[in-house]
């Protein structure tokens, strides 16, 4: 369908990349002296989309089919070298700032920038011996946080996946807008979200067996949480503290929550594995376990784990995102499902 429009993630004034109403993506790169220009985004198993040279020196091409709804990372290969598309914004994923494109989704309203009261995302620098002298974290405070200075809030510690960093959940995840919209509709209690770098990129992909949680756990539990509790108006107890993570951030969430049951009471793994009844010493102590993934991942494993946990008496909720894979649309939707379940004491 020839109704292509610039992607919403394009740099100011850039016409390409474009997407159409069916989810096809179209690219245009100016590279008059190049011999080959490819885009890594395309239908699975075909190695992306090959662009073709036009008379004006530009290279153009359209994906062979519709892309899944939501956000996708991609990059260009120009004569064998990996570069970003100058047309679009950069997002940190696969351990580099990659190009990003947004395929309009049927449910995009829940993370749209709307005329509702907005919270804020603060970039903080906290003292850290692990990754010091200062480490970065982003803190979402809900609408009204700066007005009513007597109110205190619960906190969700929310982790990104391998190859990503502390910017992912607010940039490509739109965690702040998801919360603003849910709060405006009265669907969730307002709470803070804290996002920091999970130190997941120091190991090679696939080397999970050797992963040592200790440095990150120390940074999170001994350095970041006390700083947040001191500098923000939090309710600083385990009943009002949750941890969630996507993909490898889910693996970290599982390890940290099981190591530090005195710190967190709500656990959520988004495309990030499962808990088994054997993992958990005292079911009654955990307020909520949330497990999710996309329908194009391995939903059976989430469903089976949920059934097992339910049988053992845990308060477990699961969610399968329809028609999405191991990508941010799955995690945006998961956060939307998770938030209303948190801190309902």
């Amino acid at each position: 369908k020839e109704d292509f429009k610039p992607s919403t993630l394009n740099q100011p004034g850039q016409k390409y990349p474009q997407v159409n109403s069916q989810g096809y993506a179209r690219f245009r790169i100016i590279a008059p002296a190049a011999d080959s220009v490819k885009v890594s985004l395309g239908l699975g198993g075909r190695g992306g989309t090959v662009l073709h040279k036009k008379e004006d020196g530009s290279w153009m091409g359209t994906t062979e089919g519709p892309m899944d709804e939501g956000f996708h990372y991609y990059h260009l290969t120009v004569d064998g070298g990996t570069f970003n598309d100058p047309g679009t914004l950069n997002f940190y994923g696969s351990t580099r700032w990659e190009s990003g494109i947004e395929i309009p989704a049927h449910d995009q309203d829940f993370y749209a920038l709307k005329d509702v009261p907005h919270g804020q995302v603060h970039k903080i620098l906290f003292p850290s011996k692990v990754s010091g002298p200062s480490a970065v974290a982003y803190v979402y405070t809900p609408p009204g946080y700066s007005k009513d200075q007597s109110k205190r809030y619960p906190v969700l510690y929310l982790q990104h996946g391998w190859g990503e960093d502390e910017t992912a959940w607010s940039n490509q995840g739109h965690a702040n807008l998801i919360m603003d919209n849910l709060i405006a509709e009265g669907k969730t209690e307002p709470f803070l979200i804290v996002m920091t770098y999970g130190m997941t990129n120091e190991i090679k992909f696939g080397g999970l067996r050797d992963f040592d949680i200790t440095p990150f756990q120390t940074k999170l539990v001994d350095e970041l949480i006390p700083y947040v509790d001191e500098n923000f108006r939090t309710i600083a107890d385990r009943e009002h503290r949750a941890m969630a993570g996507l993909s490898m951030g889910g693996m970290e969430t599982k390890m940290v929550t099981l190591n530090k049951p005195e710190t967190f009471s709500h656990y959520a793994l988004l495309s990030g594995g499962i808990y088994t009844p054997e993992d958990i010493k005292d079911q009654s102590d955990i307020k909520l376990i949330f497990l999710s993934c996309g329908s194009k991942e391995r939903p059976e494993s989430i469903k089976n784990a949920t059934a097992d946990l339910k049988e053992s008496g845990a308060n477990v909720v699961s969610y399968i995102s329809e028609g999405t894979a191991h990508e941010f649309q799955t995690w945006r939707r998961s956060l939307k499902e998770l938030a209303p379940l948190l801190f309902k004491n």
Partner: protein, 358 residues
């Protein structure tokens, strides 16, 4: 020699590298490319292909501080995959940090840190969603009884609201000054200087700038409502660099009832002219009553880098002459051996901040 990886690189990326002379060495992988160039400081340096399919090239020494740059590969202008990206020249491009003898002023140190907040709001003036960045000083969230002065701080042309807290390091400059007791803690609001009314409401070429209206009618009331600010004119300052210096001077002179201090870094409202200024006609006579302007300006600060190109030195010089003729006292700072670039503006902020709200 002595090449090292600057902190403008993406995590874990060895290249680009810089040395103590300020030379930049780039290295990119593009095995099948016909040519690759390093485009920095207005010069395109040829890179050469090495045996392993990598292209390698080196620039002449660059000035101290931050520079935008890019890679040209077979006619495509792209970012260096080794560098982080920074908004300048109307695009998110590559940036590189050349070590400076005075880099301590913006170094990340073990001192209490303030924070940077991104604030979204719907502008009724432009009918669009906009966002600004707000620096709050250390302990803002702890000392709930303290109210703070505010500096409105603007970027230059083809830059945006991200510039001052990213390549400008405004937050670290303030954190360090506050820790050393050299600056009063204050809030900084960094807006996007590009603002225009929706199409159809303008005549002629492009829509006129609605920036002043956005700042006065929307941003200042919003900041004063949502932050613990001191709201009298003595505790409100406005400053900008280059295009931002021009814009903010107009806002300052048009609204002396709202601001008491001004900073113009590498720019003034007579840009690009170097002709002598007639205070009777300039800015509708805003400087005509020199004594009144002088009395109302707590800090009137101008700055420039000593190696800035035409027309900046002449333009700023003509403006200074006019101030002197009108008997308006001002502080003038010259950044040694820097051009129309961020090192000039970091240093300017470092000087200006120490004068404010005292």
């Amino acid at each position: 020699q002595g090449y090292f990886s600057p902190n403008t690189n993406q995590p874990g990326k060895q290249y680009p590298m810089v040395n103590s002379q300020g030379k930049v060495r780039a290295r990119v992988n593009a095995p099948d490319a016909n040519y690759v160039k390093l485009d920095i400081g207005g010069v395109k340096y040829d890179m050469v292909k090495t045996a392993d399919g990598m292209w390698s090239g080196e620039s002449e020494p660059q000035d101290e501080g931050f520079h935008y740059y890019q890679i040209v590969i077979d006619g495509a202008f792209v970012n260096d995959p080794g560098s982080k990206s920074y908004y300048g020249a109307g695009r998110w491009g590559s940036g590189i940090e050349i070590p400076a003898h005075d880099q301590e002023i913006y170094a990340m140190k073990k001192v209490p840190h303030g924070e940077i907040t991104q604030k979204f709001y719907f502008s009724k003036v432009t009918k669009t969603w906009r966002d600004c960045f707000i620096y709050t000083p250390p302990n803002y969230h702890k000392d709930l009884d303290t109210q703070y002065p505010v500096l409105y701080l603007q970027h230059g042309s083809f830059e945006d609201q991200t510039g001052w807290s990213s390549q400008g390091k405004a937050n670290l400059i303030l954190d360090n000054l506050i820790a050393a007791g050299k600056a009063v803690p204050f809030i900084i609001v960094m807006e996007n200087g590009y603002a225009s009314k929706p199409h159809g409401q303008s005549e002629g070429k492009g829509p006129p700038s609605a920036f002043e209206e956005v700042i006065l009618k929307e941003v200042i009331p919003m900041i004063d409502a949502e932050y613990r600010t001191l709201t009298d004119r003595k505790n409100r300052a406005i400053a900008g660099l280059s295009m931002g210096a021009n814009q903010t001077m107009r806002i300052f002179m048009n609204n002396l009832d709202k601001f008491a201090s001004y900073g113009g870094f590498s720019g003034t409202s007579n840009y690009p002219s170097s002709d002598s200024i007639d205070p009777v006609t300039f800015l509708n006579g805003a400087f005509k009553d020199g004594a009144a302007v002088d009395q109302k300006s707590d800090v009137f600060f101008l700055s420039i880098g000593t190696t800035e190109p035409v027309p900046f030195p002449g333009s700023v010089s003509a403006f200074k002459d006019m101030l002197e003729k009108q008997g308006i006292s001002y502080t003038f700072y010259e950044s040694p051996k820097t051009a129309h670039e961020w090192q000039t503006w970091r240093r300017s902020l470092h000087e200006f901040a120490q004068l404010l709200f005292k």
